[in-house]
């Protein structure tokens, strides 16, 4: 299995360096809206949730694409696009359950993370907290997430959550 970006939201402090690096490196501007990795922020509970293309096995973006330009690379397992033929219809963006497609308003095309064209992703090497890692993993998918979620419930069942510091109990994450 090839390497993927592994996200640990518990370690993310929401600095947004990954977004800037991605936007600068891949689209040439320091505009975080053009980043392919996005940090969703919850102001109330101060949760920071980085989201990036997870290269699904049965990619919904690929089946939605009206131009058939999104396909799995069967050697690396990555979900790649032939961007030159993208018509910017946004069907892939709307069908991605992880909200991991980015609409590039300048070229009017939709892009996703391709792990910096298969080289080591820049966002990972710039992440100051270690929330992003570039690792081998056996399987990324719902099952694994569910298993992780179940494990987390059991771990946290014992101590009663402190009402004054909600959310701080959360550590660890999608591994």
């Amino acid at each position: 299995m090839d390497k993927r970006i592994v996200i640990d939201p518990g370690k993310c402090d929401g600095c947004g360096i990954c977004e800037l690096v991605c936007a600068a490196g891949r689209s040439g501007t320091w505009h975080p809206a053009l980043s392919r990795i996005k940090v969703k922020k919850d102001p109330i509970w101060s949760l920071n949730l980085p989201v990036v293309c997870s290269h699904c096995e049965d990619a919904p973006c690929g089946s939605a694409c009206l131009m058939n330009i999104i396909d799995k690379d069967y050697s690396t397992g990555l979900t790649l696009r032939v961007l030159s033929r993208c018509i910017g219809c946004r069907a892939c963006q709307v069908s991605c359950p992880f909200d991991a497609c980015t609409y590039d308003y300048r070229s009017e095309k939709v892009v996703n993370c391709d792990l910096c064209e298969g080289r080591a992703p820049e966002c990972v090497s710039c992440c100051p907290t270690g929330a992003l890692r570039y690792e081998r993993a056996e399987y990324f998918g719902e099952e694994k997430l569910k298993a992780a979620a179940r494990a987390a419930i059991i771990e946290e069942a014992e101590p009663v959550p402190d009402k004054d510091t909600p959310g701080l109990k959360r550590s660890g994450g999608v591994k």
């Binding site: 089946s63 018509i87 219809c89």
Partner: protein, 422 residues
């Protein structure tokens, strides 16, 4: 083993590719009426608007078929399917098959009215139709029907400087995928952009001598030089019916969830079949690109001996109308008439959305001007999740780090409050 695929649309091609991947040594033959490689019919209005060039419509080139070692019999009509001797009869020869996949698609309807044969009547279903419209140089256009094709063609021709009128028989535009309120917003968008929209009007006749001069409805007469019929499609099932293949009550080829017809070794997929809805489990004609692609894949997998089940068709319509992203997914209020769907809606100055609930389960979504977090909604509709379940995760933030994509959908699920803006 020889597999013959009738049709060169998205489902036929997906089936061919799937078989090639599963069985590299099988012989695959594709037969198609059009002598063109596969192209995206969804992008035809974009090409009409000039956003996409004609060359960019094509998904494959002839050399791609050769690379996949798929034999092509393009530009040929299927006369007969002989299920007894397992042969497909073309005009000039017969092709024997071991497995047959029918992906014959659909054709645009033109109602049998006076004047529909006059020069200036068009449909928009193929590259050929597109070229004919372009060559005609339309100026005053009437589009009959306000489905996806109708609305997209209207916007495209508007951009080309034509005077465009849409006539819709029902009471609102895009009646199949949008409810009254969002439909009214789309109508306003179209009208603001200079498209004239007439609803609740029935076309009676096309007037003209030699060529189209006007169109007569039950309320008025509109002068025009071009009529584009976008009233719907009919399944291409005639050869299948003659061969003894069962046709369903909606007019499509009847298949099971493995895309098998009633005759062993014959599969069907794409626009020509009658599939079932993922949300309601009822039979429906899907006619959408993603469904056709998935059906082709399922047919290809089962055909090459790998069992696969179709999960059902899912309505997903994404339409950029006058710069606004209009999205409809899952059920609409009109589609489940007998079940009372609960509606949660939110409107601020440029955006609108409505969430439809079936007994608390998220069943449908329609939005205008919203782009983000919709995939999460789609996944929730597909898994028939209870809204209360999602709300609990979002309110307590319990396990939210495990499902961060819920955060993107929070603004829709929590009723549009600012406090849930992520």
């Amino acid at each position: 083993m020889r597999t013959v695929i009738i049709g060169n649309g998205v489902s036929g091609n997906k089936a061919a590719e799937t078989i090639r991947r599963q069985k590299p040594d099988w012989e695959v033959v594709m037969i198609s009426r059009e002598a063109l490689p596969a192209y995206s019919a969804c992008a035809l209005p974009d090409c009409l608007a000039g956003w996409v060039s004609r060359d960019d419509l094509f998904i494959k080139s002839f050399s791609d078929y050769r690379e996949l070692s798929i034999r092509t019999e393009f530009g040929k009509e299927v006369r007969l399917i002989d299920t007894a001797s397992c042969e497909v009869v073309l005009e000039d020869r017969k092709i024997e098959y071991d497995r047959l996949i029918l992906a014959s698609g659909s054709r645009a309807l033109i109602p049998p009215l006076t004047g529909v044969m006059l020069e200036g009547n068009f449909i928009l279903k193929s590259v050929f139709d597109l070229e004919r419209i372009m060559a005609h140089r339309p100026k005053q256009v009437v589009i009959v029907g306000s489905g996806n094709i109708g609305v997209e063609a209207a916007e495209a021709l508007e951009l080309r400087g034509c005077e465009v009128t849409i006539i819709e028989m029902l009471d609102r535009v895009m009646p199949k995928v949008f409810d009254e309120k969002p439909s009214a917003i789309i109508r306003r968008l179209l009208e603001e952009n200079g498209v004239r929209v007439l609803t609740g009007e029935k076309v009676m006749e096309v007037r003209g001598s030699g060529k189209v001069e006007g169109i007569i409805t039950d309320a008025r007469e509109i002068p025009c030089d071009t009529v584009i019929w976008a009233v719907g499609v009919r399944q291409n099932v005639e050869t299948a019916r003659e061969a003894g293949i069962d046709i369903g009550s909606l007019g499509g080829i009847k298949v099971n969830s493995r895309m098998e017809t009633n005759i062993e070794g014959i599969y069907a997929c794409g626009d020509c079949i009658e599939s079932f809805s993922l949300v309601t489990r009822r039979p429906e004609l899907s006619l959408l690109w993603p469904s056709a692609k998935r059906q082709g894949e399922i047919a290809g997998l089962n055909c090459s001996g790998k069992p696969a089940e179709y999960e059902g068709s899912f309505t997903l319509v994404v339409e950029e109308i006058c710069g606004k992203n209009c999205v409809s997914m899952g059920s609409t209020g009109g589609m489940q008439n007998d079940i009372q769907l609960q509606v949660i809606e939110n409107e601020d100055k440029d955006c609108y959305f409505r969430l439809l609930l079936d007994n608390g389960r998220i069943a449908g979504f329609q939005g205008i001007g919203h782009n983000e977090g919709l995939g999460a909604i789609m996944a929730l509709i597909k898994t028939k999740t209870q809204l209360s379940e999602v709300k609990r995760v979002l309110e307590t933030r319990e396990l939210l780090t495990m499902v961060p994509w819920f955060a993107g959908a929070a603004r829709y699920l929590m009723g549009g409050g600012d406090s849930y803006e992520f």
